[in-house]
Amino acid sequence: MEDRRTVADGLRLLVRALVYSVLGGSALIAIATVVSVLGPMLALDLYTPPVAAWWTVFTAIAVQGVPFLLLGTVVSAAIGAFVPERVFSRLLPRNPALAVPVAGAAGVVLPGCECASVPVAGSLMRRGVAPAAALAFLLSAPAVNPVVLVATSIAFPGRPSMVLGRLVASLATAVVMGWLWARFGRDDWLRPPRRHAPATASGLRAFGAGLQHDFLHAGGFLVLGAAAAATFNLVVPRSVLDVFTGSAWLSVLLLAVLAVVLCVCSEADAFVAASLSGFPPTARLAFMVVGPMVDLKLIALQTGTFGRAFAVRFSTATWAVAVTSSVLVGWWLW
């Protein structure tokens, strides 16, 4: 009885394997033939200048992001694995209303693109830092670090007010957003960042596992954001901008939207802003304040780290606050 069943099972398995391999094999051969014949023809037809430019811009944003993302995930994995929670509870004021400006000012220490700040903010939250403070850090780190401020002063020679305006408006936005989160934010919007490292792992192993997971996860979303940015980069010609240079209000809103879709990294956006010479200074300030805080690449990264419910609300609110603070600062300075 037992023997017969095993023989029958074996036969069934054999037949199934045969059927699969014949069907699958012929399908594979068919696909390979079609692809090898049509592929090159189709590829040449599809590889038009716009498509080639799309690929270049897409890979450029991804390549540009990789070192900064790696830096950010190294810092965040190190925080997760080696820095005990009590360090942060001692460094930061207990009261979130006070912790927010401190965290915002601390953004100066992370000289990098915005790609680096998202994983770091995630690991700060995991380490018990109040979300409001971690979010203020997330916004201010790419916007007010020394590299960015120096780049701004090079891009606008003889106009230190642009650097000052950028510093003030960015810090104000970060702090206001932190306070808004402390007052109105709800923790269930925020998907707690997951950690795949085994709980028992030692410091070094947790570091390796955290680094690997965070980099791959955030990297996937970086690619998603890069694809969106490359698409907009090619669909929106910069010449449409000329239409809007007439109205001060429209131009502020337009450049604030452009900052979101172009995803120029924070170290370069000052040069792009400088080249948009037809626009009033307040609009260009808005471009530089919004860019490092809200753009497609960042929205994708935040969605990956904190969840969609968070990314949509937070980015919308940040955009509005950033535009408002740029307008106020612009009105004060110019």
Binding site: A60, V63, Q64, G208, L216, S239, E267
Partner: protein, 245 residues
Amino acid sequence: MVRRYGSALLLVLVGAAVLRISLLSDLYLRYVQAGLRPYLVVSGVVLVGLGVLAAVVRRDRESYDDEHAEGHEHAHPHHGPRVAWLLALPALALLLFPPPALGSYSAGREAAEVAAQGVGSFPALPAGDPVELTLAQFSSRAMYDSGRSLKGRTVRMTGFVTHGDDGTWYLTRLLVSCCAADATTSKVEIRGAESRDAPPVDTWVTVTGTWHPKGKLGTDAAWPPVLDAATVRTVRQPADPYEQR
């Protein structure tokens, strides 16, 4: 196999792609600026190392798990985040068919312009006959230099060819300050005996010639600046296809 070693494979793939364009060739200049190279090399090495490490750790753990089979399922999830597979897209593109540098298509899409600045005097041009200039340097001097330092000098510039209306052609170069996504365009109209037959679009050429003053300084009429070409020579695309800020 892919399930088990997927994360390690992806890390190695991304690392290898980054090293291929930064350490093994100059291809990275098509995408980002020269200053990023050391960071790219370090990132590539770290990623490859991390991937190898991940594979080794995984293998050790698998053999450990085979001996201690219980609790296997939820002890550690087997595959990395699924969205991470998107990383394979740019990585494979860079390894197999590195996308070309941006050229005339991108230059034509954007209204080229010179970063606006006040009219004023510039420092003296460096010695040399002809003097090597970038298109951005030439344009800003042609448009804003009240000292007219270009006057009487022979200059040499390299760029690719774009065509204008009615047979005019331009020497064009893209300017990148961080990555190719922020490229802006500089262009100089080429006139002169040798330039009657415009070279085909996207040909790389080195042009030697003299400045042809046009329009009032600092106004739109002065743009695009004009060069009277003495010689136009076809050259290979330079390693760095963009001008750097």
